[in-house]
């Protein structure tokens, strides 16, 4: 067991991938000389050189597309986009090329690229650096969307993502980079399944990424009130682990979904829809969810706190569902 931070885990995974496979390289804005805007790649330039720790111009579409092309050309690029808000500049490449080429070419070409980006609010960075757009990406067939919510997942998801013959997007909630945990290293995890992080009998809390910690904290509070909450960490937003979702709802018959994205047209809406479609008769209470308020995430601390899902909000939602 090794004590390490989420940041160290991502960096360690990149380093190991680059050591074990010469086709792997990292590129993105300020990944090299600056050390990564969240210091994830700090020290890697010295170790691997500028060819493989490749600083790019501020050209999200250009370098993301180049990553797609390089993947089609036989390499295993890790493209880092500073925050998911910036990924919108690369959305054409992700959506129209990475996600479509295999199907559009009748299976002749595939795009084994990994695109990592930071997501989420809570750092008073205002409305252009704080959003959670992973749910949007989960809308797109042809890509895999990962949301590591633990240190072990942060370290363990990269290797299977690089092994995936198809594009994989990894959303790292920026608030998690400093989290530390005692983990088995090298971490070995799968990128197909959700994980039950806490077992319970009265209500299921379904969440992922940056909201996992808040949800587990809420489950602690609920336990003190005599409510036994199960916490399911989705881990993979596309393809959704529908079996795990239905299984937890079948066990507890009640469900609250916690998602830092906005609720309209969101991944939380999708999860609710699947539960209604396939688990309707399990339900012993209406579904509920705790999402970000439908505003651009504001700067002021108290407003930002009010906009994001909170432990109190999760606890209250659970009480309401249980009629307590």
């Amino acid at each position: 067991m090794t004590v390490m931070s989420y940041r160290d885990a991502v960096r360690g995974a990149i380093r190991e991938a680059m050591q074990s496979d010469p086709r792997v390289f990292l590129m993105g804005e300020d990944v090299g000389h600056y050390g990564g805007c969240y210091a994830v790649s700090k020290g890697l330039l010295e170790e691997f050189g500028p060819e493989r720790i490749r600083d790019t111009p501020l050209s999200e579409s250009g370098f993301t597309g180049a990553g797609i092309g390089a993947a089609m050309g036989g390499l295993r690029p890790i493209v880092e986009i500073m925050t998911c808000n910036f990924s919108l500049l690369a959305l054409d490449q992700i959506m129209n090329n990475a996600a479509t080429i295999r199907h559009m070419s009748g299976g002749q070409f595939n795009v084994p690229v990994v695109i990592r980006m930071a997501t989420g609010g809570g750092r008073q960075l205002g409305a252009q650096h704080s959003h959670s757009l992973e749910g949007w990406y989960a809308h797109i067939p042809g890509i895999r969307v990962l949301a590591p919510g633990t240190v072990a997942d942060a370290g363990g998801m990269l290797a299977p993502a690089l092994d995936d013959p198809d594009p994989v997007l990894i959303f790292e909630n920026a608030l998690l980079y400093n989290d530390t945990a005692d983990v088995d290293w090298p971490a070995s995890v799968d990128i197909d399944h959700a994980a039950v992080r806490r077992e319970g009998t009265d209500i299921s809390l379904i969440t992922y990424g940056g909201s996992l910690g808040k949800t587990l904290a809420a489950a602690d509070q609920l336990a003190a009130e005599g409510i036994s909450a199960e916490v399911l960490d989705l881990r993979v937003l596309r393809p959704l682990d529908e079996d795990a979702i239905l299984a937890t709802v079948a066990r507890t018959r009640r469900c609250v979904i916690v998602d830092e994205g906005w609720q309209s047209g969101s991944i939380s809406a999708e999860i609710m829809a699947r539960i209604i479609e396939k688990g309707f008769w399990y339900l012993d209470a209406p579904l509920a969810r705790v999402c970000s308020k439908e505003v651009p995430i504001p700067y002021a601390h108290h407003l930002e706190e009010a906009a994001l899902p909170s432990i109190t909000g999760i606890v209250e939602a659970c009480r309401a569902v249980l009629g307590r």
């Binding site: 790019t56 797609i68 092309g69 993947a71 036989g74 500049l89 070419s105 013959p165």
Partner: protein
């Protein structure tokens, strides 16, 4: 590795080849237009007629190991690259014998065996991909060239500039081929660009750039051979602007409100097939009998392609979700 010659050798055989390829594109696409009106081909159909000299000229300079990224007006590029006419036609019929199993259609022809990385239907969208293919070649020290075709309309897209900059900055072996046909769909070049000299934009990225008469297949071929030789030697990108003209409408459903007939007639008068044929006949490089034989061969090939497409089969709907992702992952 074989090396394509940096010079054009215009012997009789090569003249025949150039003419044959241009006529293949012309007749194939005329048949496409006909089949479109009969509803055999659906979706968007963008014809290359008038611009044949560009694809035919540039392809002469490329080797089988080189890669091609093209646009949604790419039937000609695919044909000259060697994608079988039948599989292209079957693709447009939506049949599973098509070069993209019927998932792509006219705008998305793909052929892995010929390193044909598709018709891309987002203007400028193929340029970063071509840059990345060249990045892979550069990082793996492969002496290959990626030829990236796009129209002058792409010069207004950010991806054009981002790709130019990346390719020049990282010295990547990309041959950027701008097929400047003067209209981005229906918007004339001078209505969309402050600087209408497209090659000047590339030069601004510290890249070797030149503009050639895209209606002259020999001139295009000569320039392409120069460019590819330079890329293979230096590893750096090269920009070739081919000034050409689209004789047909942008797509089938286009009344061409944006240009007058006199302009179209001026350009068709100096069409690439017409000019080259006149020159080669006069120079004694080919004879009328050669042309007749080419037409006959092409007619047979086109008829064969249509028959192949007609006889093709539709993919079972049960396979709809196939190839969205890998069937097996490690």
């Amino acid at each position: 590795m074989t090396q394509a010659s940096p010079k054009v050798w215009l012997d009789r055989q090569h003249c025949r080849e150039l003419l044959h390829q241009m006529i293949r594109i012309r007749r194939f696409e005329e048949k496409c237009a006909e089949l479109y009106t009969q509803e055999k081909i659906r979706g968007f159909l963008h014809l290359y007629i008038g611009e044949e000299a560009v694809a035919v000229g540039v392809m002469q300079a490329l080797l089988p190991e080189d890669a091609i990224v093209a646009t949604y007006r790419e039937h000609g590029h695919a044909l000259v690259r060697g994608v079988p006419a039948g599989s292209i036609m079957a693709e447009m019929y939506g049949k599973q014998e098509g070069c993209s199993r019927g998932r792509g259609g006219s705008m998305h022809l793909f052929d892995a065996a010929r390193r044909f990385y598709g018709g891309n239907a987002i203007v400028g969208g193929g340029m970063p991909v071509a840059t990345g293919l060249a990045l892979a070649d550069a990082m793996m020290a492969r002496k290959q060239v990626t030829a990236c075709f796009f129209g002058e309309g792409a010069a207004a897209e950010g991806e054009f500039h981002e790709s130019m900059n990346l390719a020049a900055l990282w010295r990547l072996p990309v041959l950027f081929v701008c097929e400047n046909n003067l209209y981005a769909m229906g918007t004339a070049l001078e209505l969309s660009e402050s600087q209408t000299d497209i090659s000047a934009k590339a030069a601004a990225y510290n890249m070797q750039a030149e503009a050639v008469d895209g209606m002259n297949v020999v001139e295009v071929e000569a320039a392409a051979r120069r460019a590819v030789a330079a890329i293979r030697e230096t590893g750096a990108p090269y920009f070739l602007e081919c000034r050409t003209y689209r004789f047909r409408a942008h797509s089938m459903y286009d009344p061409q409100l944006y240009r007058d007939k006199a302009e179209v007639e001026r350009w068709t008068g100096r069409g690439p097939i017409k000019r080259f044929t006149e020159w080669a006949l006069e120079a004694g490089e080919i004879r009328q009998a050669d042309i007749d034989e080419i037409e006959k061969l092409v007619a047979e090939e086109v008829a064969g392609a249509v028959a192949f497409a007609e006889a093709g089969t539709f993919e079972p709907v049960a396979d709809l979700a196939r190839d969205v992702g890998a069937e097996r992952r490690p």
